[in-house]
Structures are given as structure tokens and as C-alpha cells.
Amino acid sequence: MRALISGQASTAVLFCDERVYSVTLDAPENRREREEWEILWLFADTTDVEQVECEDEPKVLQTLELAWEKDRSLQLIIILLDSKEDIELRLSAATCLDPFLENSSVREFVENRMYSAPLPSSADLAGAIHQCSESKLQFVTALLLALDEDQVAINQRVSAWEALPTSLFGGSAEKVAFHSDAVHFGAFRVFATERGRKSWAIVQLLNHPHFRGSATARAVFKEWAAPFHETATATEFKRAQDEQSVYVDIETEVHRSKRTIKPRQAFEQAEKQRAAIKILLTQGREEQALRYTKQLIINQRRTSDPEHIAKSLCDLAQFVKGLGSPELQLEFAKMAIAEAPSDSWSHATVADAYRALSDYPQAQDAYYNAGAFGDERSAMLGRAEVLKDIGQLADALTILDNCVRDFPSDVVGRNARASALANFGRFEEALAAYDAILKDWRDEPVTMAGRAQVLRDMGRSEEALKEFEYIVTLYPDDVISHHSRAETLRDLGRLEAARDTFAVLMKRFPLAAEMQLSFAKTLRDLSNFSEAINQYKAVTKQHPLNLYGYVGLADTYRKSGDLVNALLAYDEIISRAHHTGFARNGKASILALQGAYSDALKLLPTNLPATSSEWVSYHIRAMVYMHSGKLERAESALKWGLVENQWALQRQYFQTALATLRIRQKRYQDSIDLVDSIAHPSVEPIARVLKMHAHGELGEVSVVAQIYNDFRQSAAPSIIQLREALAKRYLVKKPILTMDDSLFRQECNSLLLAA
């Protein structure tokens, strides 16, 4: 159910099938049918109209109630602080306000605004604090006390903001608009309140979904933070020793002295319990596993130090990560922190889980804590990985360079640096980086595998294959390299060999879900869709926590054209894991194929893209525009994407999409120029058909024939179909002409199916 709500107007307008009606908070049982023009009158000059999608009317009213509380809270606190208002009214305002502030979302809304400017001279903060504390209004008092303490910091931050040149924003109107965003998302508040945690605020803001995809936002925050010597790449981790952690240290000491069970016994006991829990997790019996875990903790509290309990829990967290459940990984890691709040490894594990859940601000926070509690190396590596995830390569490289400098004997940082270069298309630099590592660490498996992967990404598949073969000879138990080798066979179109290799590897590494998944994918490439589906179903049974089984299933339905089952399968994934962008992307592309454009767009994020998954979403958005005939909008989005997108693979999708549009615009040479350099195996087939089309229209029949003959076996059915249609158009004596519109449609469909 769609609705427009306004907390200011305390009114919701609900759109239910063909009905449009309004309800107010004062009389929610009173539903009034409305004409469209009435909505303009209902919301008149309100500035907080939101569109929401809720299951039902009660949920809409709940959302409206929250919006109303936020609006009224802001007005009430202003009345409370106003020295011109009479005391009685101010106290009434505070009394109404206090329960609202118990809700963290309301409190944050108010704080975001109250931190955006210093209090004017007409504000009677001291009087308000006195009144509220006398009346024991705890939430209001706490907020006012914090506001009081932070006035100097607020002043400094606001002054720094005002000093920012308008050219940084693109103009004064843009600066005003950015100011609204900065207030709304708490930038002023975060800068002021987190000044004690050096650079934490700017790191958080640069990871924020609303800002991280915007180059302007990144530049603004960096310049805003500069006068305070705060940077995104700072690697100091300041830790405040608080009363709580001192208490914990004392408790630990007391606890340690009471233990009577011998360490060896305790270790074996814990080991047995962990093994049992792991079996349950493998079987997908989460609730039972968690119950056993609670028992493990109780037992270990009697026999072990908190750090050892945390280690047990982190071990379980890493195990369940391997099974494919970041949600459980987070749960175990948080339990670890509860047992040992100052354990840096536990914080790093929490951070890793948040990263897998795409919650980057929380991940950065947890990495910061890991650094503050002593593991600076993990903190730096983790922060760099998060920056890489959100497309901020330059900052990621700076941190990794610092990591390499500070930990020269550590290969992990150096590998991470090389991998980052490759992710963003700087392949030659990546190869050089890997070569430099191999000089110091000869035959280091992760380095060699990383180097081979770069070759794969560059389309140099034969060379990559040779390198993977060398690695598995040296390291016969290296699962990842075996897997990558077989995947490279797929890239080369040697599908039967790939299938047979995966079949062998599945037996050799029975716990490695990735082998089974790739086996299924290869069956799909061979157009054995029903076998592929059966294989994916088997994976979901054997590895119930691993999302990729479900994703593979959904993708297979999609690629085989069974869109009904594909939609159901994507819905299943979304219900299991809200954080997964790829399921929403998959579903959105199907909805677009079916012409349900509005429903497709609703699934896609609205913030500017930064992560790889967000760029896929943005690409799908552009494809929706294209498919629905909004070609100008599509072009604008694709051109912007080509400029801003840092991800090498994603850029190629944008290139092919724009090339499709160029053909439509009869700009054939431009189309060829866009797709000529495309080499990545997942995009290369569609690039080929576009080249066929463009060269065909230019009358270059021999080129068309060459491309046709060089086609790899592994192309998807839709691409094969397109290829054949183009061959019939250009390569036969009596050409069968498919309408231009139809070809364009097929090309768009192929891009959506490949997305």
C-alpha cells in the first residue's frame, strides 16, 4: 500500500487500488475519500511530505505517528528553549517532549537539527536544563546537557561550514541544498559529538549511503574536516578508558583467581562443544546451535578467561561466515564482545560481519574499535577494504600504503593493495604490485592467485589458466585456486572440461559449496537448465545458510526464461536477507523485462551509487529508462555512470548499454568504439553482438562474419538468439530483416538478463 504522509499535517493519504482516501491521527477511524486536487490542499505548504510503502493501513499510521512525533518534538524543544515563553508553557512543552525522546529515531531527528547551529541569545538553555532536571525529565535533560557541553564544538563546526567556498558545491543554491542534506543526515551532529574519536566522524560520513556515491560530498566533507586535522585516511585509533572497562578488568582478575578446572581440560571441553555446534550450523539448525552456544558460554565462564570465550565465539563466527551467513556471524561476534569488550579480534570480526551485510558505517565503527583496542593492523586493513567496497580507491590505497609502511613484514596488506588496483581497472599496476610481492614472498599462494585473477579480468584467460595450474600443483589443497582454475575453463568456453573438473572437485572438497555452485552454473552455461536447477536445489539443502544457492536458482530461472519462478525465488532471497542487493537487482531486471517499470524502480536504491552492487542497480535503472522508451534519461544516466563509476567490470556494462543506445541513434562507429575494448567474459558476448549489429549497419559484412564465427559457446540463450537474428540480417543472401525496434528490444532484454 502506497501512502503520502506528513507529520506536520498529521495526515496520511492512502492509495489503495483505485481508492484514494485520507486519515488523520486525531481521527484515524475516519476515512475520507479524496480527489487528487484535494491532496494539494491537504499538504499545502508542508515541507515534510514522504511517500511510504507499507503492508497495511495500521503500518501507515504507525509511520505517520513517528513523523508527527518528530515534528512536534522539534517544535516543543524550541518552545522549551525560548526565554520569551512563560515558564508554565515551557514546562508543559518539556513534559510532552520527554516521552518522545525515548525513541532514538525521534531523538536523532531533533539532535540533527539542534546541532546545525549554535543557540541564539534568545535561548535560555540553563533555565531549560534547570526546569527539566527539577521535574526529573530524564531524556530531555540528557539532550540539553549534551547540547550545552557541545555548544563550542557546534560553533566551530558551523564556522568551518560557513567558510567553505560555494565553488566546492557548484554554486550557492547547491550549498544550501547540501546544507539541508547535511543537517538531515546528522553531519553537523556527528562532527560535533564525535570530536573525541579522531577522524571517526568523517569516516562515518564518507561511508554514509546518501553521501558515499557523490564526489562532491566527499570533497565537501574532506575540506570541512581539514581545519580539525581529521581525514578519511587517518590511522590513529583513540581509545577512551571508561569506568565500564576498568570494572570489567577488575572482574576478570577476580574471576581468574576463582577458577579450579585445569586449562587443558577446559580447552578440550570447549572444543567438543564447538564441534557439536558447527554440525548443527552446517545442517541449518540455527536455533539449536544458538542454544548450545549459550551453554558453551556458561560452561566457559566457569573455566576460562573472557578472551578465550571470545575466541570460541569468534571461531564460530568465522565458521558460519564460511557457510554463508553474515547474520549469524554478526550474532556470534557480538556475543564475543559481550564477553570480552576490549578484545580487538572480536571487534574486527563484528566489523567483518557488518561489511558482509553492507552496513559500512557500522563496519567502520567496529574496525575503529578494533584499532582502539590494539589491533591496528586489522583495523587499517578492514577500513581499507570498506573504502574499496564503496568505490573510494584513492583513500583505500592511502590506508593500505600506511599499513605496508607500518607492517612491512605483512603480506596481507600488500595483497589487498594489489587487489584494490585490479578492482578499479588498474590492471598493469596490479600485476606489477603482485610481481613485487612475489619477489619477497616467492610462491605465496594468495599472491599468485590474485595475479592470475587479474589476468582473468583482463581477458587473458589462457595465461590465467596456466598460472592457476601452477598454483594447484604447488598447493594441491588450495580450494580457491582449484575453483578459479575451473572457472577460467568456463571463461575460455571449455564448458565440458569445466563441468568435469567441478564434478571431480565436488568430491574432493565436499564441504566447499563454491564447487557445487560452479558446477550448477556450468550446467546452466551448457543450457542444461533443469539439471542446473536440480543442482542448485541440492546446494540449498546441503548448505541451507548459503545464500548463493538460492541466488543461483533464481538466476537460472531468469536466464532460462522462467520469469514466474525467478520472481518467486528472488522474493525468497529477499525475505531471508534484506541486505542483499543482488536479489533486488535480479528481481528488478525481471520486472523491467515484464514492463513493470515502476515496480522495478521501487526495488532499486535511490542514493547515488558507490558499491559494486549499487552500480549494478544504477545500471538496471538506466536499462529501465531505456526499455520504457525514456531514451534521454537513459543516456544521461549511462554517460554519468561512465564518468563516475570506478568499478572496472561495472563500467563495461555501462559501455555496452550506451553502445546499444548509440546503435538506436544510428551512431554506429560510436557504438563500436564503446565496446571494442570490452574483454571481461561476462560482458564480452553482448559486446560482440553489438559489434555485429554496428558493423552490419556500416556494411562491413566480412567483419560481421568474423565476429559470428568467433563466438564462444558459453553465451546465454538470449544472446545466441540475437546473434542468429543479426546473422540472418547481414550474412545471408536473402536477408530476413528483423525490425529495428525489435532488435533494440532484444538487445535491451539481453542486457537486463545479464545484469
Binding site: G7, T95, L601
Partner: protein, 280 residues
């Protein structure tokens, strides 16, 4: 229209207040549109027809009284307590510092209903200056169109006279009834400047008058009881509202404690502004 600057004389776009060439104030666009000779002439013809009709049915005296009453008509806007409180507090530094930043379009999705409705109205009614207009209703007793906000704010004549026009009914419904599409001109004789609002009321409402019509019925004749009919005289006010434009506020006592606090604060400020206030 041509720029009023004798040294310029260039064409001023219909939606623009200022001459785009010399920057001279050409007058607010809605008032200019209502002042066009063709518009005034068509309205005069309708008024004449209405007067003849009144004479036929023996309602001339009633029409005279109705006219006199309409001379005292005012514009009323209905708003929520939140918006009115913000308006009357607009000179308050606390409000200026902390409340002005509330903005929702950050979170509105693409192709949302709110933008669609506003853009549709913009393209149909007042291309390029829809956002600059405030919509009010004409009232005789301070009551507003039912169901659009708990507070009825009557505006001072002096604050809106030079920048307001009136329209036969709710403009969107009018357009639908007359099957007008975007780009079509509106039929003439259905709008007037604020100072000529009585004429529009006469042209529209005379047929509802009978010799037995008493003054107690005037408000319900002016503003139909069913708000969904859109049957009221719509007032189009160019530009934002200032708190000193408020003449009178009437409000229903709110149910919620927080709103009661806002109402008390608002009432006090209104009295300081010299406005009157009634709470039911």
C-alpha cells in the same frame, strides 16, 4: 504583455513577474492574467446576465445585499497547527535556526505521487509559477473549506490585495469539467483580480439567490457544504505568507497534549501580532 518600462517594451513571458530584459517588475502573473481586457469583458458580460436573471426572479434587492456582504469577504487558508505555529514564529531566531531545515524531498522516491500531482497541476494551471502560488478560499465568516487542516487563517485584505486573484471554483476541477488539456487557454470570464472579486461571485452565484434568501445563507452559498465538489471561490495568492498578514485565526481545541502546547504558544504570538483568535 509588454514590459511597462517605456524604454524597454519587450514581451514579458506570462509566467514571469520581472521583465526578462530590463528587470522591471511587471506585476504578479496571476493578477496580470485576470486583468486582461478580454477577461474583464467576458466577466462583465456574465455579470450582466446574472443581474438580468436576478431581476427576472425578483431577487435584485437580495443581490444588492449579497454584493455588500461580499465587499467584506476575505481569503482564508486552512493549515495544520504545526504550520501556523511556524508561521507566527517566523521572526523567532530559534525557529529560523532549527526549523527551517526540515525538508523531505531528500527521501521522496523517483516518480512519486506528490511530485506527479504537483507537476500535473503546474502544467495544467499555471505553467512555471505554480510553486509560487498559495491557494485559499473566499469566506464571509472566517470558516474555511472543510477538512483541510484544523486551523482557519483569515488574511488581511491589505496583505493580499495587490497580489491575489480569484477563480470561479477549484481550478483543477474546473479544468476537468471543461475538458481542458495542457496548453489550452482557459475560457474567459471565470477569473478576476482581488479588487473585482465581487463581480466574479455575482456572475457565479446569483442564480442561487431567491427573494427569500437571507444573509445567514450567504456563507453556504459562497462555499458549498461538500468540500469535494470544489464549490468555492478559489483565491490565488502570489508569494509567501507573512505572519503580519494574519487577521484572524479560528481553531478547534486539539486532542493531543503536544498540539495543545503549540496552540497556546501560537495564540500568545497571534495576540502580540494584533490578530484575533477563537478556539472552539
Amino acid at each position: 504583455m509588454k514590459c511597462p518600462n517605456p524604454d524597454c517594451g519587450d514581451q514579458v513571458p506570462d509566467h514571469s513577474r520581472m521583465c526578462v530584459v530590463c528587470g522591471v517588475d511587471a506585476g504578479v502573473p496571476n493578477v496580470r492574467a485576470a486583468s486582461l481586457p478580454a477577461e474583464v469583458g467576458a466577466l462583465d458580460a456574465r455579470v450582466l446576465a446574472a443581474e438580468n436573471n436576478a431581476e427576472l426572479v425578483g431577487a435584485t434587492d437580495v443581490l444588492t445585499n449579497f454584493r455588500l456582504a461580499l465587499e467584506e469577504s476575505a481569503a482564508v487558508v486552512c493549515r495544520s497547527i504545526s504550520r501556523v505555529n511556524e508561521l507566527v514564529s517566523s521572526d523567532n531566531h530559534l525557529f529560523a535556526s532549527f526549523y527551517k531545515n526540515v525538508r523531505s524531498d531528500i527521501t521522496l522516491p523517483e516518480d512519486n505521487e506528490w511530485d506527479r500531482i504537483r507537476q500535473s497541476a503546474d502544467s495544467l494551471l499555471f505553467p512555471h509559477y505554480f510553486e509560487d502560488l498559495m491557494f485559499a478560499a473566499l469566506t464571509l465568516d472566517g470558516s474555511g473549506v472543510n477538512g483541510y487542516g484544523g486551523i482557519c487563517v483569515t488574511l488581511k485584505d491589505s496583505a493580499i490585495r495587490e497580489r491575489s486573484s480569484v477563480f470561479e471554483e477549484n481550478a483543477i476541477l474546473f479544468i476537468k469539467r471543461h475538458r481542458i488539456v495542457a496548453g489550452d487557454a482557459l475560457p474567459l470570464g471565470y477569473k478576476a483580480t482581488w479588487t473585482n472579486r465581487v463581480a466574479l461571485c455575482v456572475a457565479k452565484l446569483t442564480y442561487k439567490l431567491t427573494p427569500a434568501t437571507t444573509s445567514s445563507k450567504y456563507q453556504s452559498i459562497l462555499m458549498g457544504s461538500t468540500a469535494r465538489d470544489g464549490d468555492f471561490i478559489e483565491v490565488h495568492i502570489y508569494g509567501p505568507l507573512h505572519r503580519r498578514a494574519i487577521k484572524h485565526v479560528s481553531a478547534t481545541e486539539p486532542k493531543r497534549a503536544a498540539d495543545k502546547v503549540l496552540l497556546r504558544s501560537m495564540t500568545k504570538k497571534l495576540l502580540e501580532l494584533g490578530a484575533t483568535c477563537t478556539i472552539n
